[in-house]
């Protein structure tokens, strides 16, 4: 969601108690948060509950929303805390188990035909992303499409900033690989060496 639009929505929610604005807010962030929380708790029903609780809390505290520096980060963090509370209560784990994210996270992508991903190279690079491990894809999504920075992403996944940096490099390498192939790079011995990175 663009800054300006989000700012207006937050203004409407916190100052005007606008349910309509809140619904727009809900429509935009509900699916994302569900995806994120499901990755952590590995249970769709529980994830749904946690996300609804997150929105409820946000509505209750809406008067303070204007003072939040980064609303998306606040929202995700609030959701994360809900997940941790659940995990602690169930005595399943004390931390987010990043390995479990590897195994149960399932990604979906926009359909190139129907979603007007018209540029050929974008479609091609999407193929590159699909081959990345789930954790890497999640990090890429948080940075590329949810607009978080390294620090925020690291906090939301409970990993180090260095790990986030490294994963973004892995993603970038893969993009370059696919780009080179699609541009019919000549396979000389030195080129081969580069491709082995």
């Amino acid at each position: 969601m663009q800054d300006k639009i989000l700012q207006n929505i937050i203004y409407e929610i916190s100052e005007c108690d606008s349910q309509q604005a809140f619904r727009e807010f809900f429509n935009h962030y509900f699916p994302q948060l569900l995806h994120y929380s499901n990755a952590i708790v590995d249970n769709k029903q529980v994830a749904e509950e946690i996300v609804c609780d997150t929105f409820l809390a946000f509505w209750k505290n809406r008067k303070m929303a204007g003072t939040i520096k980064s609303v998306p980060y606040y929202l995700y963090t609030s959701c994360k805390n809900g997940c941790i509370n659940y995990l602690t209560r169930e005595r399943k784990r004390h931390l987010i188990d990043i390995d479990s994210i590897e195994s149960n996270l399932c990604f979906t992508y926009r359909n190139p035909e129907t979603d007007a991903i018209s540029k050929e190279n974008v479609r091609h690079l999407l193929e590159a992303v699909k081959t990345l491990p789930p954790k890497c894809q999640l990090i890429l999504r948080l940075i590329k499409e949810e607009g978080f920075n390294y620090k925020e992403t690291a906090a939301l996944l409970e990993i180090s900033v260095k790990t986030v940096e490294a994963q973004m490099v892995i993603a970038m390498k893969k993009l370059k690989e696919y780009f080179d192939v699609s541009n019919a790079a000549q396979f000389s011995p030195s080129q081969k060496k580069i491709n082995n990175f």
């Binding site: 700012q7 995806h35 409820l56 509505w59 505290n61 008067k63 920075n149 993009l175 780009f179 990175f197």
Partner: protein, 356 residues
């Protein structure tokens, strides 16, 4: 040049985490390897296009279902658990409404009331900054004030006795200690800002056409000097811009008519980008310029670095830039501006000459 290093820098760039030094390194690499530029352009396009979807989590029917459930659970009209205590009078945001009320008002003279004038020259503390410097001071009540370049703040020795009053010219960021018994009041030119424990920015430079007050958190109340009854309440992330050149009421209380309608006040929001608030970025040694003309930017830089900019070309003055930097360093900023939209400049002895 290693391709690994290029990939690292490209990753940082697309994650919006690249700093100025790294950006220069990247530009150099691209100059020497133009074929990499093609890849970067492709990556740019890719990063601008959303490719992830939420699958059936994102289907409208699915979301609608959950919204309905949510609606059932939530009592929307319930008074929020946390209600800021200041939500009482509300300023109606009609600018015309304000102008009309000013017209009807019988306005007192704009001179400082007698006792204040006596207060000023005598026992008072003054802190001022020149071009090129910033300063942080702590007031006797524990409040912090960060003074930007070319600014001056003064307060009487009796600060804190009854009220906590300061006088400001220039730009300062205030973090006011909470003390309900002693109102904190800032006088700056024609405005008075009344505070109760908040963090905000006041900008009133002599040579600028407007006064800007940006509220970060808490609450503040603004009024025009001498019109204490007409108050404007600001909420967090709101910014009030007061034009110094718009029509002012004269002594009889009628607005002086100018050519066209002029906005005396504009209520807007602070500019937030990537969690960095533009209005207070000067405090953290970062710079945020959003669609500003080069002559404006150079004025800001002159103030900050105590330099003098001379434009040899009129067109260049109007070039617009949007830049965010983590390092408010003159040489680096000039280079970034140049990279963004080119011009030539000479920097010597605190003098900057800019031409096409």
């Amino acid at each position: 040049m290693s391709i690994e290093r290029f990939i690292e820098l490209a990753a940082k760039k697309k994650s919006r985490e690249i700093n100025l030094v790294e950006q220069r390194e990247l530009s150099r690499i691209l100059e020497e390897n133009p074929d990499l530029q093609l890849f970067l352009e492709s990556a740019d396009q890719f990063f601008e296009t959303p490719v992830f979807s939420d699958g059936n989590f994102g289907e409208q029917g699915f979301v609608d279902q959950h919204w309905e459930q949510f609606e059932r659970r939530t009592i929307f009209t319930e008074t929020p658990a946390i209600t800021p205590f200041y939500k009482q009078r509300r300023f109606s945001y009609g600018i015309i409404g304000l102008a009309a009320s000013l017209l009807l008002l019988i306005v007192l003279k704009f001179a400082l009331p007698k006792n204040k004038a006596e207060l000023l020259p005598e026992k008072e503390n003054t802190v001022s900054t020149n071009c090129g410097s910033k300063s942080k001071i702590t007031l006797p009540d524990g409040s912090s004030v960060w003074l930007n370049a070319d600014s001056k703040i003064s307060y009487p020795k009796s600060f804190g006795a009854d009220t906590r009053e300061v006088f400001l010219m220039g730009e300062a960021y205030f973090d006011v200690a909470h003390d309900a018994g002693h109102p904190f009041i800032i006088h700056s030119g024609d405005i008075d800002v009344r505070v109760l424990g908040t963090a905000f920015n006041v900008r009133n430079y002599k040579n600028e056409k407007s006064i800007e007050v940006s509220l970060i958190r808490g609450k503040i109340e603004l009024s025009m000097k001498g019109q204490i009854e007409n108050k404007i309440l600001l909420n967090p992330s709101q910014k009030l811009v007061i034009s110094k050149t718009a029509s002012q009421p004269d002594v009889e209380g009628k607005a002086v008519e100018n050519e066209g309608p002029k906005n005396l006040f504009t209520l807007t929001h602070v500019n937030v980008r990537d969690s960095l608030v533009a209005e207070t970025s000067w405090m953290e040694n970062k710079a945020v310029f959003i669609n500003r003309q080069l002559d404006d930017i150079m004025e800001e830089l002159d103030r900050r670095f105590n330099t003098n900019t001379i434009f040899k070309d009129e067109d260049v003055k109007k070039y617009r830039y949007t830049i965010y930097t983590n390092d408010f360093n003159l040489k680096e900023i000039m280079e970034v501006l140049k990279l963004s939209k080119g011009f030539t400049y000479q920097l010597s002895n605190d003098e900057i000459i800019i031409s096409k």
